[in-house]
Symmetry: C3
Subunit: 270 residues, 3 copies
C-alpha cells in the first residue's frame, strides 16, 4: 500500500495540484462552481478540487482529452447531470476536442444508454456551444450500404470473438436483437468517423460503469478496450476516472470485472 505516499502530503499540495488541473481543463474561471459552495459547503468544494482533480484527474496514464471522454460518458449515462455535463463539455472543448467530437461521443452512447440520455446531454452541449459561439461542423455519414456486413466487421475489430458470441447467444430467443446490435450499434454507430476506437471505448466504459448492472457488457468492453490498443493501466485509469462521477461502489464492481478480464488474458498489472 502506498501509505508513505499519502502521509505528510499536505492537502494544500493536493489542492494546488487540483486547482491547477481545473484551470488547465476549464480555464481561469474553472473554480467558480467550487467558490459558489463557500457559503454552505466549503469543504465539499475543497473535496472537488483535492479529490476529483488533485488526486484523480491529475493522474498520469490517460491524457486530459481521454479523461474528458470517460467523464462525459459517465455523466451522460448517469442522467440528471446537466450542470456537470455543461462544465465537462466546456472542458472537453478547452482541451482540444472539437464540438463535432463531443457530439460524436454522445451519439456513441445511444446503443448503451438509449436515445433519451443522449438527447438530454446534447441539449447541454448545445447550450455550451451557443455560449461559446462554437460552430459545429456535423459529421454526416452517407446512409445505407450493407449495414450488417459493415457491422460484423466492426464488431470483430472491436470485440473479437466475445462480441460475436454475444450476438450468437441471442439466436435462440431474440435474433433480431442481435441483428440490431450488429447493424445499428456497430454498422451505424461504431463505424462512424470523428472518434477513433480507443476514444469510443473510453466513452463506452465511462457510460457502462455509470449505468451499473452491466457487468457482462463491461467484460466485453474492457476486453475491447485492450484489443483496440488501450493499455491495462489505461483501462484501470478509466475506472478511477469514473469515481468522482459515479462513486466507489460502481468503480469497485468494475474492478471486479477488470480483474477477471486481466486473469483470462494473463495480464499482471504493474
Amino acid at each position: 500500500m502506498a501509505v508513505a505516499d499519502s502521509t505528510d502530503r499536505g492537502p494544500s499540495q493536493r489542492y494546488v495540484r487540483g486547482a491547477a488541473r481545473m484551470k488547465q481543463i476549464a480555464g481561469e474561471d474553472a473554480l467558480a462552481t467550487v467558490e459558489a459552495l463557500e457559503d454552505i459547503a466549503p469543504d465539499l468544494g475543497r473535496f472537488v478540487v483535492e479529490f476529483a482533480y488533485g488526486d484523480v484527474h491529475a493522474r498520469p496514464g490517460l491524457d486530459v482529452r481521454q479523461r474528458q471522454l470517460v467523464t462525459i460518458g459517465a455523466l451522460a449515462a448517469a442522467g440528471d447531470t446537466a450542470p456537470q455535463l455543461r462544465f465537462h463539455i466546456g472542458a472537453a472543448l478547452h482541451v482540444g476536442l472539437d464540438a463535432a467530437q463531443v457530439v460524436e461521443a454522445l451519439i456513441h452512447l445511444v446503443p448503451f444508454t438509449g436515445f433519451p440520455r443522449t438527447l438530454n446531454a446534447l441539449a447541454a452541449a448545445r447550450t455550451v456551444f451557443e455560449e461559446r459561439g462554437v460552430r459545429v461542423e456535423p459529421v454526416e455519414v452517407e446512409p445505407g450500404g450493407d449495414r450488417y456486413a459493415r457491422g460484423e466487421d466492426k464488431l470483430r475489430e472491436v470485440d473479437g470473438e466475445h462480441g460475436i458470441e454475444v450476438i450468437e447467444s441471442l439466436n435462440d430467443v431474440a435474433p433480431d436483437l442481435g441483428r440490431y446490435i450488429v447493424e445499428f450499434a456497430f454498422g451505424d454507430v461504431y463505424s462512424r468517423p470523428g472518434l477513433d476506437l480507443r476514444q469510443r471505448q473510453l466513452v463506452t466504459l465511462g457510460g457502462l460503469i455509470a449505468l451499473g448492472d452491466t457487468a457482462p457488457q463491461q467484460k466485453v468492453h474492457f476486453n475491447a478496450a485492450l484489443r483496440v490498443g488501450l493499455s491495462p493501466r489505461q483501462v484501470i485509469e478509466t475506472v478511477i476516472q469514473a469515481v468522482p462521477y459515479t462513486g466507489f461502489p460502481r468503480a469497485l464492481n468494475a474492478v471486479g470485472v477488470v480483474r477477471e478480464v486481466f486473469k483470462e488474458r494473463g495480464i499482471r498489472p504493474a
Copy 2:
C-alpha cells in the same frame, strides 16, 4: 441470422417506415424534435427515425398502444426523461389511450419505482394534458375493504405461485415488507381498473428493464406476463421495444431472464 433481410434494404426504406410510424403515433409534427437536431447532430435524428421507429416501433407483435405503455414505463422508471415522456404521453393519447389510462400507467409504476418517478412523470403528463386541452376523468377507487385478501387474490392471478413464494420468503426477515407488497402493490394498485393485466405487465416490464438490477423481479414478471395472456413473442417484443429508451445492455440482461423463463416453461420461441 436474418442477414439477407438487412442487406440491400436501403436506409431510406427504414427512414420512410420510421417517419410514417412517427406520424402515425404522434401526428404531422412528429418529426419536429428530429428536425431540431439538423444543425448539430443530423445523423442522430436519422437514427431516431430509422432505428427507434423504422426498425423497432414499426415491428409487429405489439400494437401501437402496447408499445406506448412499454415506452412510458421505461421512460418514467429511468428518470430525467421529461422531454421524452411528454412526447410519448402525447403519442399515447394520439393512438387512443385516454388520459386516465396514462395516469393509471404512472400510478401502476409506484410499487416498482417508488413515488418520485411517478410524481415527476405525472408532471410531464399534466403539461401534455394542458397543452392539448385534455380533461382527465380520474379513476377513483373506493378505499378500504380487505386489502390483504384482495391483494392475495390478485397476486395469485398475476404471478401464480412465484409471487406467493416471494412474499413467503420475506417472512423470516421482513414480513411487513411482504405484507405491503400484497396490500399495496396488489391490493391497492394492481386491483385498480383503467388498465387490464396485460397492459399492466407491459408497463411493469418497461419499468423493470429500465431500472436495471431487477433480474429476480423480471423473472417473476416475465412469467406473469405470459400468465395473463401475453404471448412469448410479445414478451420478447417488450424487451426490443425498450432498447431505444434503455440501450442494449439492459435489454441483453432482460433477454437472459426471458431465456430462463422460457426454458422453465418449455417454451421454444419461433
Copy 3:
C-alpha cells in the same frame, strides 16, 4: 403473516395516521403536494398519505430524524428527485436536524454516488434554506494530517475487517483505488463531525439501496450499521423506509443482503 392486522383496518385509519405523520414532519402545509394531485390522480395522493406515511413513515423502530436521513440518502442517490428532496430536506429541518447536518448528509454521499448527485441535491437544499431564511453554519474541518492513518482507523471502526478486506482485495489490480477509499471516503468524509456513525450509516444505506447494483457494498454497510450500534430491527426499518422512494424491487434485493448478513452474524430477527 400479519393478515389479521390488515383486515378491517379501514383505509381511513391509515389515512389519518399518514396525514398526521406528514404534518408532524412537514408542518400544516404538508399535504399541499397531495392536494395538488386531486384533479388528475387523487388516488395517487391517497396512496402517498396512506402508504408512504401511514404504513411506512409512521412505523416504530426509527425516529423521524432517522427516517429523514434514510430518505434524503435514497432521494439524492436516485437523481431526478429535486421536488421530493426539497420536501424532505424541509421536513428534516422541521423535525430538528439542522441545516449543517443536512449538508453533511449530502457530503457523506459523495463517496457512494459521486459529486454530481450531491451537488444537485445541495442546490435543492439551498433553495429550501433560502425559502426558510435558514442560515447554515458550515462545518469546516482543518485539512491535512495523516489522512491514510485517520481513514484506516475510521474504516476499522465502521466496517471492521470487512472493510479492510475490500481495500486489500484491490491491491492486485487497483491499489490506488483502495488508497482513495481509505483516505477520501474514510479519512476525509467519514471522519467529519456533524453526523454520528449511526446517522452516517442511515444515509449510506438509503443511498446504496436506491443506487441498485450495490449488493457487495450493501453487505459491508449493513454489517457496519450493526457494528456502529443500529439494531437488526433498525436495519430492516431502513430498507422498509426506502420503499416509497425506490420501489419494492430495490428493497427486495436489499432484504436478500440483510438475510445473508443476519445469517453470518447468527441474528434471528424477532
